[in-house]
């Protein structure tokens, strides 16, 4: 539990020892079998869990980590969880004897200071052995839990200055010993959770891991341990090689990105994340030196394992998507994170909110830096929402409920060179399935009033960002609400000359004399009928708006993504006809003149060069 431990956990790992020289076809067949075992475990969990964030939003992940602690496979579920699992398993590997770990065990980890992400991301995992008792792999399921038994429901405490405020930490806890559930341990873990559904989720995770362990045992039995180890080595080496081939195509040099968070939860302003990406031949170094390290900051501490994971999530989005996501990526990318900065906190710092920010500014900064050399894939994988409006109340039976606000909406889907931002959210980070009004309203005393896209809510650009949504809700009973607002002063950055996204904003008690704007954080008791309105930032634009195809701007106006005013003011497009009658047409000459006046020449010259 120290920087020394972090260094040890992050160390490069050697390939598994094996005498088998495997052919690439057999290796990829075995990889397919691994992926399928992950799929089966994640599917089992998704169907059997009852927390909406697992079964509706799909915030869960299955992965396989080898006996050296290397990510052997992690294809299913939530990417940012994929890249964290291995670090927690490494702690268990360092303690095989101390903890008496053996076949049939199921373990639980979530400790930010022992390789974990934030506390709610429970990692449940099990070792898998060959027939003659050799440890071959661990299989891990990770999922975001509704609560962690800390001060505030959900585990997000705005003013927390240490991890103990946020809940219980498990460096490595045995839930099942040699196939037998440890009832006392299970009940203790379940007791430290506010939600009745939690025990069911934990049971589903255990049975999912046991299922995957059995399937992997069969795969190992069929091929033999040495062949399996050779296949894992081959797969990791292959991913590393393919990453390096991608980096070789990028021009050598150092590319920098700096991104700011508006403030921490106490109001200290302009929290900085700085990234320098250095490409040299077939290597890529991502260096976070220069990132904020003011020790008094509150809420903006991202765990070490998470920081590494977010770097990798963005790198993964900027290379060929078919490259298999495993340890080979970490072997190909040197990640430098200064000890003590907000991306590698000292022990006992709170971790919950840091998983949003600065975690997402890390992906953004990596994207900004690499946008110069990989514009065709420069879409930041992030959420710029500080924290959704989580609303919490009690039902008639006194049971606590929480609408986590993972609502269907549009936010942060930036354009890339050639494609407008589309859909709901960037997908390589969370891959969430968003919740629906009809499900929520059957369960919670909430009325969803609106979640439509806001006209001009996306960054303008040669390719435009998708407009952000305005989510408006009404609470029908006394309800407490929590929020942390960021991305108002520093909205999502445009790339390649595109405009930034619009700022986020959040209003409580809308339409009453008590209406106020949440400037930093909110922890409010809302009275029945109170309305809250969250304006999400949209995606940012890519490329100068004046270069957007004028006909496309007309289509955007017809679809009410872009207003007539913005068509002229941002895009320099003059339209004739009537929007009401769908008779808009581009005035080609007037548009050319206006664009010239607005300085389009500068960009076309640049393009010509």
């Amino acid at each position: 539990m120290s920087f020394v431990l972090n260094r040890k956990l992050a160390e490069r790992r050697a390939p598994l020892a094996t005498a088998v020289n495997i052919d690439p076809v057999s290796a990829s067949i075995i990889r397919g079998a691994f992926e399928t075992a992950c799929f089966e475990a994640a599917t089992h969990l998704g169907r059997a869990a009852s927390s909406p964030i697992i079964n509706q939003s799909n915030e869960r992940n299955a992965s396989i980590i080898d006996a050296h602690g290397r990510l052997a496979m992690g294809a299913i579920g939530t990417p940012h969880l994929t890249f964290v699992n291995a670090m927690m398993v490494r702690w268990a590997l360092m303690n095989m004897d101390n903890y008496d770990i053996g076949a049939g065990d199921v373990l639980l980890s979530n400790d930010p200071d022992h390789g974990g992400g934030h506390l709610p991301d429970y990692c449940v995992y099990s070792p898998v052995y060959s027939a003659d008792g050799e440890l071959i792999v661990f299989v891990a399921l990770q999922a975001h839990q509704g609560d962690t038994g800390g001060k505030d429901a959900g585990g997000f405490t705005l003013e927390a200055t240490d991890i103990f405020t946020e809940g219980l930490q498990f460096p490595c806890l045995k839930l099942v010993h040699r196939g037998e559930l440890r009832r006392d341990v299970f009940d203790m873990v379940a007791r430290n959770n506010r939600f009745a559904t939690f025990a069911g989720d934990l049971a589903a995770m255990i049975s999912g891991v046991q299922l995957a362990a059995r399937l992997l045992g069969e795969v190992i039995g069929k091929w033999g341990a040495d062949t399996i180890k050779a296949a894992i080595n081959q797969s990791i080496e292959h991913s590393e090689r393919r990453c390096r081939e991608e980096f070789t195509r990028w021009p050598d040099g150092t590319y920098e990105g700096t991104v700011f968070i508006d403030h921490d939860t106490m109001g200290t302003k302009d929290i900085k994340v700085h990234v320098a990406c250095t490409v040299a031949g077939d290597s890529l170094t991502v260096d976070l030196t220069g990132t904020d390290d003011r020790q008094e900051l509150v809420g903006v501490w991202n765990t070490f394992a998470n920081s590494r994971s977010y770097v990798m999530t963005q790198v993964g989005a900027m290379i060929d998507p078919t490259i298999v996501k495993n340890e080979g990526m970490f072997n190909a990318v040197e990640i430098v994170i200064p000890e003590g900065c907000i991306a590698q906190p000292p022990p006992n710092k709170p971790a919950a909110l840091g998983s949003f920010h600065p975690a997402c500014e890390i992906t953004e900064a990596v994207c900004v830096a690499l946008s110069a050399i990989a514009p065709e894939r420069a879409q930041p994988q992030l959420y710029k929402i500080g924290m959704p409006n989580a609303v919490i109340g009690f039902d008639d039976n006194g049971m606590m409920w929480m609408d986590q606000g993972v609502d269907c909406r549009s936010m942060d889907t930036s354009a890339i060179q050639g494609i407008d931002g589309w859909g709901s959210c960037p997908s390589s980070l969370g891959n969430l399935l968003l919740s629906q009004a009809e499900d929520a309203e059957c369960r919670f005393p909430i009325l969803n009033i609106s979640r439509e896209m806001t006209i001009d809510g996306g960054g303008a650009g040669q390719w435009r960002g998708s407009p952000g949504s305005l989510n408006v809700k009404q609470v029908l009973k006394p309800t407490s609400a929590m929020a942390w607002m960021v991305s108002a002063d520093h909205p999502l950055r445009g790339m390649g000359g595109g405009d930034d996204a619009i700022p986020y904003s959040n209003h409580f008690n809308v339409g009453t004399p008590e209406e106020y704007k949440v400037e930093r954080t909110a922890q409010a008791l809302l009275q029945p009928q109170a309305v809250i309105a969250y304006q999400h930032g949209g995606g940012a634009g890519f490329g100068p708006p004046l270069l957007r195809d004028a006909e496309q701007v007309k289509e955007d106006v017809l679809d009410e993504y872009v207003s007539l005013t913005a068509a002229r003011a941002k895009y320099g497009v003059v339209l004739t006809g009537s929007l009401e009658d769908y008779t808009l047409a581009v005035d080609v000459e007037a548009t050319a003149t206006l664009r010239k006046d607005m300085g389009v020449g500068e960009f076309t010259l640049e393009a010509a060069e």
């Binding site: 690439p24 076809v25 990829s28 067949i29 079998a33 992926e35 399928t36 799929f39 089966e40 599917t43 089992h44 998704g46 169907r47 869990a49 009852s50 909406p52 079964n55 509706q56 009745a196 069911g200 049971a203 589903a204 049975s207 292959h238 081939e245 989005a317 900027m318 060929d320 998507p321 078919t322 065709e376 894939r377 994988q381 269907c408 909406r409 549009s410 407008d420 859909g423 709901s424 997908s427 390589s428 891959n431 399935l433 968003l434 629906q436 009004a437 009809e438 499900d439 309203e441 059957c442 369960r443 009325l447 009033i449 979640r451 439509e452 896209m453 949504s469 408006v472 993504y561 769908y582």
Partner: protein
């Protein structure tokens, strides 16, 4: 009985290339295939019927006059969504919820590919208009419908020239008054426009599922309805006097009138027909639990049959990038067919999902294909013959170019570009496609609480029987059925399928606090719809078998489990709704949850999410023989060929299907050539022919 007095039943399935016919005559089935007629597919249907009539020695008129039922599976809806050439469609929805179909709940088909293009929108934003109105979860009206706003929205859509209108309001499945009122207004404002209401198309939560399904319904409706109407009138003109029955994705058939109310129900009905046919054959052979695999030219379709029937799911069914939430026989598809292209991607040998299709097709077809495919690999391995008689003798496979293509693959993988290298590369392609299919099957059974080992495999489609033994072995399955009729299985399925209506109504309540009056009202609503449509189809009510079902889940679960609360009941017998229904439902739910997930939650009470009525009428279907009573001598191979069946090249006996008879038994390694398919008997397996002439492969 004279031929003219015969009560024929005809099953027709239209595919991309062929239209398949299955004629049921007493217990006997006659199969026929002719080319489809893409311009007007009803023409191909009429041609095939004329051929069948001629086979029976009848004029078309008297043949059709003797048809008790014509049952039809159509791909019109599928083609409309593939080609995106449906009706110009508008959507009217609740104010504040304009963009749900664009958000897709955040779903993206490939989470890592930031260059993934958005799906084409059926209703772009300009044709998604909202009106003030709001119904709450309990059905009460929170905001009254603004009728002026509805008229305005209709006029705006009229300006854009829409041909079809979808209406989807929040909680319309609980209170549909607003949607019905919009229909009245739209009929005035938008004469001639087809109207789809969400509470009729998919009366359940949540809003994205329902709206997406309704929008897709609106998009395909005019084409499906026009096509069916055309076919009905051609059949009527031809002398057919009964109702045309149409296959639905749920595996049941229903009248055209019923389909017209929700034509999206015919989407993906072709594969469903195949599964229904499989279930029927499996049941006859004493195999109620099947893993059905259908390998054609472009895809490998996998489905399950449990307890003798094809499970139907009404959940997250993505079709052509649209969520279609109506009940469907669950069929998983993998891009692995005979035409799937073998290629090397950055040092990794991959097969599919890209396909050479039927034009130009595999290299071996000799129609200009240059990229090696799975079919080419089979030629290279000696599994397929380049002799006479491929695809029923319609053409001959060629060897030219095949070896060169695999030699190139061998070189790209860093191996010799020799004949041996080419053979090894083809073998590797065979291994890769086999592994893809085995993993695909595992994903099909994932989360179902099923062990593939306990299933019997049923293989069909042109390429299914060539590979079935390998997947079976991989999955620990030791019995594979290959029915003789497998090449026209979907048509056979339409004959087997029963007229069926499977509908549900949403009702969310704790299982210990059920409102019996509400339950009765909802089920009565379903009963009266079933009564109406069965009556229209001339099916007497006493022939209807009703399964009353409940959807239940733990609060917070996304997926409900469905189970029978009153199976095999009479259509209007609601006596099962009594004070103890909640207790019975709880016990049944616990049993289902235990079977599916291996645990139940102590101290948590599940909730009911909906009631369902699955009703059907049993109609005559083909009798499938089974058993192995017939005796036959030794089967004689027609020759030998050098082939690699997974254990290296060896001289392998070849049998001609037409020369084999019930009672014959052939030990692997061997290859059996049927007219539209090739059956591979892998080493260690035995093929036996049962009394029906169907094949059974058993691991020895």
């Amino acid at each position: 009985m004279s031929a003219a007095a015969m009560n024929y039943r005809v099953g027709i399935d239209i595919g991309g290339t062929f239209t398949d016919f299955a004629l049921l005559k007493g217990g006997e089935v006659i199969l026929h295939k002719n080319l489809s007629t893409p311009q007007d597919r009803s023409l191909g249907v009429m041609q095939g019927l004329a051929t069948l009539a001629a086979k029976e020695g009848l004029e078309l008129g008297s043949f059709l006059g003797s048809c008790e039922a014509i049952v039809h599976g159509t791909t019109v809806a599928d083609n409309t969504l593939i080609e995106m050439n449906g009706a110009l469609t508008g959507l009217i929805t609740t104010e504040g919820f304009r963009d749900e179909v664009e958000y897709r709940r955040g779903f993206k088909e490939d989470i890592w590919d930031v260059r993934l293009e958005p799906p084409p929108q059926i209703t772009p934003r300009r044709r998604r208009l909202t009106v003030p109105e709001r119904v709450l979860a309990d059905g009460s009206v929170h905001v009254a419908l603004d009728e002026e706003a509805v008229r305005h929205a209709c006029r705006q859509l009229k300006k854009q020239g829409i041909e079809s209108l979808a209406v989807s309001f929040l909680f319309a499945f609980v209170n549909n008054a607003h949607e019905r009122r919009v229909r009245e207004i739209a009929r005035e404002e938008l004469p001639g426009v087809t109207i789809s209401l969400s509470h009729e198309v998919l009366p359940r939560a949540p809003e994205y599922d329902r709206t997406s399904t309704t929008v897709a319904n609106a998009y395909v409706a005019p084409r499906v309805i026009a096509y069916l109407d055309r076919l009905v009138s051609r059949l009527k003109d031809g002398g057919y006097r009964n109702q045309l029955m149409v296959m639905q994705a749920s595996g049941g058939v229903m009248t055209v009138d019923y389909i017209d109310g929700s034509p999206i129900r015919v989407l993906a009905s072709g594969p469903a027909g195949g599964v229904v046919g499989s279930a029927h054959v499996g049941k006859a052979k004493g195999c109620p639990n099947l893993l059905c695999v259908d390998m054609g030219g472009t895809s490998y379709d996998m489905s399950l049959v449990t307890g003798g029937s094809a499970p139907v799911e009404a959940g997250w069914n993505m079709h052509h990038r649209n969520l279609i939430g109506v009940p469907m026989v669950k069929v998983e598809t993998l891009g692995a067919g005979g035409g799937s292209i073998c290629h090397v991607n950055n040092g990794v040998l991959e097969v599919g999902p890209r396909s050479a299709g039927s034009e130009p097709g595999p290299i071996t077809y000799g129609r200009g294909g240059t990229e090696p495919t799975v079919t080419d690999a089979l030629v290279m391995l000696g599994i397929l013959s380049t002799g006479e008689g491929f695809a029923g003798g319609s053409f001959r496979l060629q060897k030219a170019g095949v070896e060169e293509a695999f030699a190139k693959i061998s070189a790209e993988m860093g191996n010799a570009a020799s004949t041996a290298g080419a053979e090894a590369a083809a073998f590797d392609c065979w291994r890769v496609v086999n592994a893809n299919m085995s993993q695909g099957v595992r994903r099909t059974t994932a989360g179902k609480g099923l062990d593939p080992k306990e299933l019997v495999m049923l293989a069909y489609g042109g390429n299914g029987p060539a590979f079935a033994g390998v997947q079976a072995e991989d999955l620990g399955i030791n019995r594979v059925l290959v029915p003789k009729a497998s090449p026209t299985f979907s048509a056979l399925g339409t004959l087997v399928a029963n007229p069926a209506i499977d509908e549900e109504r949403s009702y969310i309540a704790r299982v210990d606090a059920l409102d019996l009056g509400r339950l009765r009202k909802l089920w009565l609503e379903l009963v009266s719809r079933a009564e109406k449509y069965f009556t229209d189809g001339a099916f007497a009510h006493d022939r209807v078998v009703a399964h009353y079902q409940i959807n239940m889940r733990y609060p917070g679960q996304n997926f409900a489990l469905t189970f029978d609360i009153a199976p095999n009941a009479r259509l209007n017998d609601l006596s099962f709704i009594d004070d103890a229904i909640g207790e019975r439902a709880l016990a049944l739910f616990n049993a289902r949850h235990m079977a599916e997930y291996n645990h139940i939650r102590e101290g948590e009470l599940p909730e009911v999410t909906g009631v369902r009525l699955a009703s059907h009428v049993v109609t005559p279907s083909p009798v499938v023989a089974s058993g192995f009573t017939a005796k036959a001598g030794e089967a004689a191979p027609s020759g030998k060929r050098r082939a690699n069946l997974g254990q290296g090249f060896a001289e392998t006996p070849i049998y001609v299907g037409a020369t084999l008879a019930p009672g014959h038994s052939i030990a692997g390694p061997a290859i059996i050539e049927e007219s539209f398919t090739t059956i591979v008997v892998y080493p260690g397996w035995v093929a036996r022919i049962d009394d029906a002439g169907d094949y059974e492969l058993v691991k020895g």
